[in-house]
Symmetry: C2
Subunit: 483 residues, 2 copies
Amino acid sequence: MVGSVGNGLADLGASMNGNGKAAAEPLPMEMDPPADVMAAAAAAAAAEGEAASNGRREIVMGRNVHTSCFAVKEPDADDEETGEREATMASVLALYRRSLVERTKHHLGYPYNLDFDYGALGQLQHFSINNLGDPFIESNYGVHSRQFEVGVLDWFARLWDLEKDEYWGYITNCGTEGNLHGILVGREVFPDGILYASRESHYSVFKAARMYRMDCVKVDTLMSGEIDCADFQRKILQNRDKPAIINVNIGTTVKGAVDDLDLVIKTLEESGFKDRFYIHCDGALFGLMIPFVKKAPKVTFKKPIGSVSVSGHKFVGCPMPCGVQITRLKHINALSSNVEYLASRDATIMGSRNGHAPIFLWYTLNRKGYRGFQKEVQKCLRNAHYLKDCLKEAGIGAMLNELSSTVVFERPKDEEFVRRWQLACEGNIAHVVVMPSVNIDKLDYFLNELVEKRATWYKDGISKPPCIARDLGVENCLCGLHK
Amino acid sequence: MVGSVGNGLADLGASMNGNGKAAAEPLPMEMDPPADVMAAAAAAAAAEGEAASNGRREIVMGRNVHTSCFAVKEPDADDEETGEREATMASVLALYRRSLVERTKHHLGYPYNLDFDYGALGQLQHFSINNLGDPFIESNYGVHSRQFEVGVLDWFARLWDLEKDEYWGYITNCGTEGNLHGILVGREVFPDGILYASRESHYSVFKAARMYRMDCVKVDTLMSGEIDCADFQRKILQNRDKPAIINVNIGTTVKGAVDDLDLVIKTLEESGFKDRFYIHCDGALFGLMIPFVKKAPKVTFKKPIGSVSVSGHKFVGCPMPCGVQITRLKHINALSSNVEYLASRDATIMGSRNGHAPIFLWYTLNRKGYRGFQKEVQKCLRNAHYLKDCLKEAGIGAMLNELSSTVVFERPKDEEFVRRWQLACEGNIAHVVVMPSVNIDKLDYFLNELVEKRATWYKDGISKPPCIARDLGVENCLCGLHK
């Protein structure tokens, strides 16, 4: 089904190219080219150096995206009268919309809550809303939504125990921007600090180190995916003379592991780093869920942390990516006076900022409130347990961290199945992130299909399910050796 | 009128706070607190150090934004039944919408085309569209719009004369992201390069230098706002041993000045920098207009430039900020193989990326085409000339660069007038950016009001209009001394 919608779109794309040749070329079976194949090709190309890379990239770009893309075509002179152009565009959009419905229905792998209804905000799409600069200091551009933005920021500051006159923050474009900001604040507070992050941290953390020309030390992880504080201590002790800037994961990308914030702080203090560290908490997904998990350790500014970031399009759900960044006002004040470019009017990473995102967030926070989120978190955790239990009952190795709704399991053998369910994979493992839009029905649909297909993948008895003991531990592996 | 709408909103904000105290506090006369006052307070606070800054900032935050913001309130337990919460939210949104209409009508100072109709795309607001990662390599997340993104990128690459298999690019969140990316590419190509930028460059250029820990040299400007290539040569010759990374402005922020790209290249080559320079063109506004200006020098990859960025929400018009970044594929390939974090799947600054923005751009490019943009550019330039001529006829000093629709003139004395028309000001000058949404009627409305008010500002004969000879040159000043 996905394939047929995809082909329809690709055909339309080709016809919009106004290019019979493109339509005659073999089209991919699906709208999306196989990501894994391309990624592998790109990685291989990168490893082989530029010349080879050019050769490989050409294939990726020519065959897969440039051929199937919807080219922009110069309108004919009489388009206004015939209306043909508008009709073609409408049909492209209608088919695209249908593919989005299909894709949304079969989505399980990314931590996005796809269940939202912002119909009431449709009326605002006619305005160019831009919160350029600081949320608390208005620019002269009047078409903004700072009233909503500050309302949302106040809510988050309260959630993480920071007083109104002690915090600063803004609504970002995504989790990466939050990490870029948090780590930049850390570097400005400790210009010669070394960045420490577990090797299972989000790639944006290492990107930040490279961008900011900071020394960065990768710390080992436990089997759960949490930072290994014994290794952390060894590594900070090797750099006693330099302050420490630490990225703490409140839910890692792949395993949903929550780093032990209290142990990180204790390790720092016991190793002689008192007052010489800055902690940024990357709470992209779980930063907004953990406050509603009973008995979970608290992420709070009552502890000596410097900043917390969370994504808005993940647990809350939003048409486009966004995020929230909260830090201590004193750090921004220090920056404002120390740093020429960071006048108080420019303490964000970006310049112009999406003014619609704060309204989306404001709308959902107001409708659901703390109580609504609590219910949804509980539902997600319950459903995640259901999925993990069903997988194990079906003989499929799986793991679920206590503070997580990310179920990690044996990577399905068939890449078409992976793409169909949009699973995120790494080596021998895949994961499903149970969001509010993932209910039991959807999980059953997925489980039935997985069990059915899996029986065919391994029916010859020659190929076997992969061993995932190295990824998830012997106790979570159900391969021939470990079950 | 603006004031009354503003007060209505502020009242609602206070009532949503559920806090009688807030409503009893004196409310600002307008929805927006006076930006200049706050900016001045913040700047002063920054200069006076942290303690003082805390004191000042509290006033800014407490009185102005936190009081008038729309607080998020926990829903009552019976909200589902009474529907009261939803009704309150609907009324906040309706009043907010009204204020946006008002603000949009009186907007002149920022280079945003506010005239667009994306009604046909409303159907896509229900989807969480995310182009995370590289535009040319699909991730496993299926709800994306890469087909549109690549179509748009192809259009821009063609506009700037770069072949499909020789370019790389992506749709950014704003002009700042384009500059951050272009300068980062420059730094990765020449790790020990020095960044040169005219002092009238956008603040994001200097922010990039700070973020990336690059040496940065500010170059003087001519009266027009263009880079002074004599000063540029002096400065590069002082650093002969280090490669040069240059930000070239295709339209400066304040005066709309276009740096002389050919002269910059000639200066570099004559000073012995052949093959040891990287040029990023910041075309935020005018990068998309200059191709349609007759006799204008060309911004093209046939010249030795490395990257061009342009904003999408400016000349094109878009509900939220976005931009386009185009660079040479070989630079990204070099990065991909040299830089661990920049695998070909992560060559963007951000991680998750707004998938709606490419569709907005695709929609407008398809509807208007090169011909449509050409007509609009001509109209803007004509209207800008009209405004400049009318100002001068009315005895108001003004300047309009040949390659620009930004009219710079004597700063209006009354800050309320500045806020009402949302003019961008710097020192003694203000500007209006004539965009497609700014027609002759709007300009006449503005001109009449300005002339009328101005007569009252200076009627006592004691206070005089400011001299702007230092800002715009003697020939453009009409003060008592120079007229």
